[in-house]
């Protein structure tokens, strides 16, 4: 048996998430957002969470509902403020939630660094802007860069299209977004998929997330 584990319910998949965990949550807007897993996490009750995701919730569902339930201490994201981000906006204005705004590409690259064993990297994004505050700046070949550190997750909750029983994953269109990167950056990756197939069904050339980097799978 391989380390990927197929569980039949989202509740079983998220059962082990501890209070105080850092949870990477996939999705860009609604595309690729693992709604079943987030709903299960709300039922599960883990609190004092740090959430890393591109957005900070839309409307009253998904991440917004997790935030509304008071389970989140801090959000790292690139774009919290949206037309329908009133839950986050309210909590933030009341000082009930911490926010670290990270440029979208740095969010992805810092998670990639965590998954790739890179200790830190020099990135040209945000040089000379308020988001450079507190970061080490260095000039390399005449261009300025900021030193960026990895973002690791205890857990990643991501959506994918099809998994095989070994944990190979493929995605669908732009729902791929942060999923493959988060799967490498978390100690345990929990995946919500549309379908689980037998090993040998997926085209080995088209696998996007191979199993060594994801350790859980859920329907």
């Amino acid at each position: 048996m391989s380390r990927a584990e197929i569980v039949e319910s989202a509740d079983a998949a998220v059962a082990g998430i501890e209070d105080g965990s850092t949870v990477l949550v996939g999705g860009f807007g609604l595309a690729g957002m693992p709604f079943d897993l987030i709903d299960a996490l709300i039922r599960q009750g883990a609190k004092d969470l740090t959430i890393v995701s591109n957005n900070a919730g839309n409307g009253e569902v998904g991440l917004a509902a997790l935030l509304a339930a008071g389970r989140v201490r801090k959000v790292l994201c690139s774009f919290p403020r949206q037309a329908d981000s009133w839950v986050f906006d309210g909590l933030y204005r009341e000082g009930k939630i911490e926010l670290e705004v990270v440029p979208q590409g740095n969010l992805a690259e810092r998670m990639r660094a965590a998954g790739a064993g890179i200790g830190a990297f020099y990135c040209p994004t945000a040089v000379g802007t308020p988001l450079a505050e507190g970061k080490e700046e260095r000039e390399i070949d005449g261009r300025k860069y900021l030193l960026e550190y990895p973002i690791r997750g205890d857990y990643a909750l991501i959506g994918a299209h099809v998994a095989d029983a070994l944990g190979n994953l493929v995605y669908r269109k732009t729902a791929r977004n942060f999923g493959p990167v988060m799967a490498t950056a978390a100690t345990t990756t929990i995946v919500q998929v549309d379908q689980v197939v037998e090993p040998g069904t997926l085209d080995p050339e088209a696998v996007v997330t191979p199993p060594s980097t994801s350790t859980g799978s859920s329907r």
């Binding site: 860009f28 690729g32 926010l99 690259e109 040209p124 802007t129 996007v208």
Partner: protein, 220 residues
């Protein structure tokens, strides 16, 4: 498409954002790899000639993005950076977020067009934060795009609703990127900006000297 490039070049009126989109579309080289920012720049896609061969990149992981999806073509798994459902063109490719932004930062996009609050004469860009104390900051991919594409164009109205210029000697809003913009397209005219300062390329509905005076630009 309501106007042709030659119409616009002669425009004796301020351009509408649609007309401005058509102007920008004509300036994008055939075959270029292009990212169009959220908001007004999205309109540029509607004005690209059918045979332009321009390849659109969307930061959420796709090349060869097609037009907005309508009706049955709407697929929640296929959106642009503004979360609007879009379509795919033949030759499309999907990739994850780290690869998508690597493509940007690595200089693999020829042009990106962004909206802005302010652009400085030297090319500094402010388009992510109004600087108001109770505003919630949200940067998205703006800083990555600003430093990534080979050419960064800005598309904006030249003046705020209260009449303040948005093309300025120095940005007063928090910066998105330093010296990153090369050209500014506005309803009143087109400008080159950068290390050598600002230069008026063309004007719409206003003379160059008049515009220069209003913006504090020295005509060379």
């Amino acid at each position: 498409m309501t106007t042709t490039p030659s119409d616009q070049m002669r425009a004796e009126h301020r351009l509408s954002m649609d007309e401005l989109a058509a102007v920008i579309a004509c300036d994008i080289p055939a075959g270029a790899f292009v990212n169009l920012g959220i908001g007004q720049p999205t309109k540029i896609a509607d004005h690209l000639p059918a045979d332009s061969g321009v390849v659109l990149h969307t930061e959420n992981g796709m090349l060869n993005m097609g037009p907005k999806a309508e009706g049955d073509a709407v697929d929640p798994d296929l959106t642009n950076a503004g979360k609007v459902p879009v379509t795919e063109l033949p030759g499309a490719a999907y990739f994850h977020h780290a690869d998508s932004f690597a493509m940007m930062r690595g200089g693999h996009l020829d042009v990106c067009v962004l909206g802005a609050y302010q652009v400085a004469f030297d090319g500094d860009l402010a388009n992510w934060h109004t600087g108001e104390p109770n505003a919630i900051p949200a940067v998205g991919g703006a800083m990555d795009l600003a430093i990534g594409a080979k050419d960064v164009y800005v598309m904006m109205t030249l003046f705020t609703r209260s009449g303040e210029p948005k093309l300025v000697p120095q940005c007063t809003y928090p910066l998105t990127g330093v010296g990153c913009v090369s050209r500014v397209y506005t309803d009143c005219g087109v400008f080159d900006v950068g290390p050598d300062g600002v230069r008026i390329r063309e004007t719409y509905g206003v003379s160059a000297p008049e515009l220069a005076e209003r913006l504090g630009i020295t005509l060379s």
